[in-house]
């Protein structure tokens, strides 16, 4: 049967067909939908972990118990999971173990565009890279098989283009894995103390050498001989672009990008006149080809930064004289000068009032990763740093260590519920332990919102949609020893501002928790829409005070018929009735419909 699947859906399907028993992940674009699809197969135990390290450890446990399992994460998630990854390379596996990394060239929704192929080399594990959804599915099975055959975790790398593109996939049946799960002790392999690890390391080196040899005969690595004039080594989505741009060129398509099939590369190079490596981001393949003593053109032609789109490949090939410049561009010029359309927090988002208060208090805000990162944008403009998941709290501690006494109280860390539980909690321990007086605000909106509403340990439900114990965040922060823990209603602007101010002034670690749900939560009884507000046209003075919160439901309608200032208008379909704008209007012009 054929279906149109995204790369992420196909990865889930591939895991299912390969007899996978468990999957774990922390959501992150572009990887999130993988676990949202494994959950559809009752044979796979699917779970959200609090962070990527835990996700990998959970599935490593499944593997050690004999089951096939995988973890999925975005590229920066592998940084968090790197600790277990590097030693799992030494232990190897029992049941097949796969780590899916979804990279984001161009940073469509990420803070950097690190090239995770480097992790395969660094951790000494094989890495597969599919070129479309069919291969996403097929390579998952291959990954499990390689994992068991070579006693190694296997990485499968996608990019945003692969994860979020859809193509036709031929579905197969599920077959159960060869091993039946059960306890099996093997300390020499699974207890990585120095004595055992020293024995495992040479095994790792031998394994990778063997894989490199065998790679030249793997069907996933494919020589496509056509015209011998141009030869291109490529992989992933770029293979598709190359095929389309240069249908006559010879291609070495790498399905396994690490370790490199040296023999195959040598053979290919010897049979073509001009050799190119077309790869996105780092010169990962290029450097290894050069190390074989082969002359090749790569990054002197293709950009190191950003997504390598068909257009960018074409431009580079034109420079190389391989393609002719064509003038088939659009009949209209660019759309410059058009107002831009950046993303914005939703109407009624519970984060908005907090940032408004922080701006008024002139706080120095160390921020974190989530919808609330948008708080840096005007008109709120109330975020000063954002690095990675959980960084806000440690950074607040650091900033406050060295600045003059009178500035210290200005430092506030802002972090979401899910991000706090991911890796922010350690920062709070440090704050309490080492006596930081900075303030932490946890924006608890009961969901992991930015990636599209995933449950987390504080939301009360599992990925399988079963009720779960909710972590009690105020109690948790008290247990960690925070001197003051207060809960505020972020829709009450005066209260929010007063409490933040008091806690900023308090000379000990203090935590403020806002408790209002994300407006996109569909689950019954969590988010409830209030009464829609209206602007009274008569009394609206045109002062623009309500625009200061940047709510997309409020529109400025410029002057009509003699009225020079213009007036505010609230879109009744967008307004959720959060009531914040009403508190900003000094003229009492915003209110409920009577």
């Amino acid at each position: 049967m054929k279906e149109i699947l995204s790369g992420n859906e196909a990865i889930a399907r591939g895991a299912y067909e390969a007899g996978c028993l468990a999957a774990s992940a922390y959501p992150g674009t572009p990887s999130t939908e993988i676990l949202e699809n494994t959950v559809k197969y009752s044979e796979i135990n699917s779970s959200w972990a609090p962070n990527e390290k835990v996700a990998l450890e959970v599935v490593a446990g499944v593997s050690f118990a004999g089951g096939r399992a995988f973890a999925a994460m975005k590229h920066v998630g592998v940084n968090v999971a790197a600790d277990p990854l590097f030693t799992l390379s030494y232990t190897g596996v029992r049941g097949g173990l796969v780590l899916v990394t979804a990279d984001d060239p161009e940073m469509h929704s990420s803070q950097n565009e690190q090239d995770n192929r480097n992790y395969a080399k660094f951790a000494k594990v094989p890495m597969l890279e599919p070129s479309d959804s069919q291969e996403c599915k097929d390579f998952m099975r291959l990954a499990f098989e390689l994992s068991e055959k070579y006693d190694t975790p296997v990485m499968l790398r996608t990019t945003t283009r692969i994860s979020h593109s859809k193509s036709v996939v031929e579905l197969g049946e599920r077959s159960e894995a060869p091993l039946t799960p059960g306890l099996a002790r093997d300390a020499a392999k699974l207890v990585m103390l120095p004595g055992n690890a020293r024995i495992r390391h040479p095994f790792v080196e031998k394994r990778m050498a063997q894989l490199s040899l065998d790679a030249s005969n793997m069907p996933a690595n494919r020589l496509e001989f056509r015209n011998p004039e141009i030869g291109i080594i490529t992989s992933g989505a770029l293979y598709q672009y190359v095929r389309e741009l240069l249908p006559d060129a010879s291609v070495l398509k790498l399905g396994m990008v690490h370790p490199l099939p040296s023999e195959l590369v040598r053979e290919f190079a010897s049979r073509v006149n001009r050799l190119f490596v077309v790869e996105e981001l780092d010169p990962f393949i290029e450097e290894q080809v050069r190390a074989l003593g082969i002359k090749v053109t790569g990054k002197e032609l293709f950009p190191l930064c950003g997504e390598l789109t068909p257009g960018r490949i074409r431009s580079a090939l034109v420079v190389a004289g391989v393609m002719e410049a064509i003038d088939e561009t659009s009949a209209t010029g660019a759309s410059e000068g058009l107002p831009s359309r950046p993303p914005n927090m939703c109407p009624g988002c519970p984060h908005r009032g907090v940032f408004f208060a922080l701006k008024q208090l002139k706080a120095y805000v160390t921020g974190d990763i989530g919808c609330y990162t948008l708080g840096f944008m005007p008109p709120l403009s109330a975020m000063d740093t954002c690095i990675c998941m959980g960084a806000s709290i440690g950074m607040a501690t650091g900033v406050a260590k060295v600045i003059p006494e009178e500035e210290k109280k200005k430092v506030v860390a802002v972090i979401g519920d899910s991000t706090f539980l991911h890796t922010g909690i350690n920062g709070l321990m440090d704050m309490v332990y080492n006596g930081s007086t900075a303030t932490v605000i946890i924006l608890d909106n009961r969901i992991t919102a930015m990636t599209g509403r995933q449950d987390n340990p504080a939301s009360g439900f599992t990925l399988m949609n079963e009720p779960a114990k909710r972590i009690d965040l105020p109690l948790l922060c008290r247990a960690l020893g925070a001197g003051s823990v207060r809960v505020v209603n972020p829709f009450d602007l005066d209260e929010t501002k007063r409490v933040i101010k008091e806690e900023m002034n308090r000379p000990e670690t203090s935590v403020i928790i806002t408790e209002k749900p994300c407006v996109l939560i569909k689950r019954e009884g969590v988010f409830e829409k209030g009464d829609v507000l209206l602007v009274d046209e008569e009394s609206c003075a045109g002062c623009r005070a309500c625009l200061a919160i940047g709510c997309p439901a409020i529109e400025w309608r410029s002057a009509m018929s003699g009225d020079k200032k213009g007036k505010a208008f609230i879109d009744p379909f967008l307004c959720t009735g959060c009531d914040i704008c009403r508190q900003l209007c000094k003229f009492g012009s915003i209110g409920r419909k009577i």
Binding site: K2, I4, T29, P30, H108, S109, D132, T160, R161, H164, S165, K166, S167, V168, A237, Q240, Y241, R243, E244, T309, P310, G311, R314, E328, T329, S330, A331, T332, G333, A334, S335, L338, P339, S340, R341, P342, P343, N344, M345, C346, C371, L374, P379, M450, T451, G452, R544, L547, G550, P552, I554, E555, W556, S558, G566
Partner: protein, 192 residues
């Protein structure tokens, strides 16, 4: 580029249902026996940002994205976004747009204004331009929320795919409670 492939772009504002519309298109082409690929960026773009979905179908499709200057058909679900993505099109491409205007933040704040000459500027570059008041037509058919489907109906006549495949694709992709209204909106669009 390969002329046996048709390159379609669907553009608009996050939350407008662009992904569903492109799913219906992709399903239709697959049912009609074509190879089809599509691609879009989710993530931050969902919070009211600008969204573009690429879709390509034909005998055999490699790339899931349309190269700049290669687009054959542009579906614009919002007027300004329609204009924004025109540079992706080839000369003589077909543009169909909803006349709906959604103000971006700078316009909401009164710092910039929504350009009022966009239809003329689009037509100047692309004479093959169909502008539809999607919300109004859909409301007449029963529900203004089916505006995207009106546009699909209007374009369906221009593509060499039998109507039965469109209907079957909608049955598969659209939730059952919204189906009958969407089928009606599709017919209305097809007969515009």
């Amino acid at each position: 580029m390969n002329r046996d492939i048709t390159n379609i772009l669907l553009v608009g504002v996050g939350g407008q249902g662009i992904l569903l519309a492109s799913e219906v298109l992709a399903e239709t082409f697959m049912l009609a026996g074509f190879d089809v690929k599509k691609s879009e960026i989710h993530g931050m773009s969902q919070r009211g940002g600008s969204v573009v979905s690429h879709l390509r179908y034909g005998g055999r499709v490699n790339s899931p994205i349309v190269s700049e200057g290669d687009g054959d058909i542009l579906f614009g679900f919002e007027l300004m976004e329609t204009f924004r993505y025109l540079p992706l099109l080839r000369r003589g491409a077909f543009v169909v747009a909803n006349s709906l205007q959604i103000a971006p933040p700078s316009v909401l704040m009164g710092n910039e204004s929504y350009p009022d000459d966009l239809p003329e500027r689009i037509r100047a570059g692309f004479p093959d331009f169909l502008l539809i008041d999607g919300q109004r037509v859909a409301a007449e058919a029963g529900d203004p929320r089916a505006a995207n489907t009106v546009l699909l109906g209007a374009v369906s006549k221009r593509l060499q795919v039998e109507e039965e495949y469109w209907l079957e694709a909608m049955k598969r992709m659209i939730p059952s409670k919204a189906l009958s209204i969407n089928l009606k909106a599709f017919e209305t669009g097809r007969n515009l």
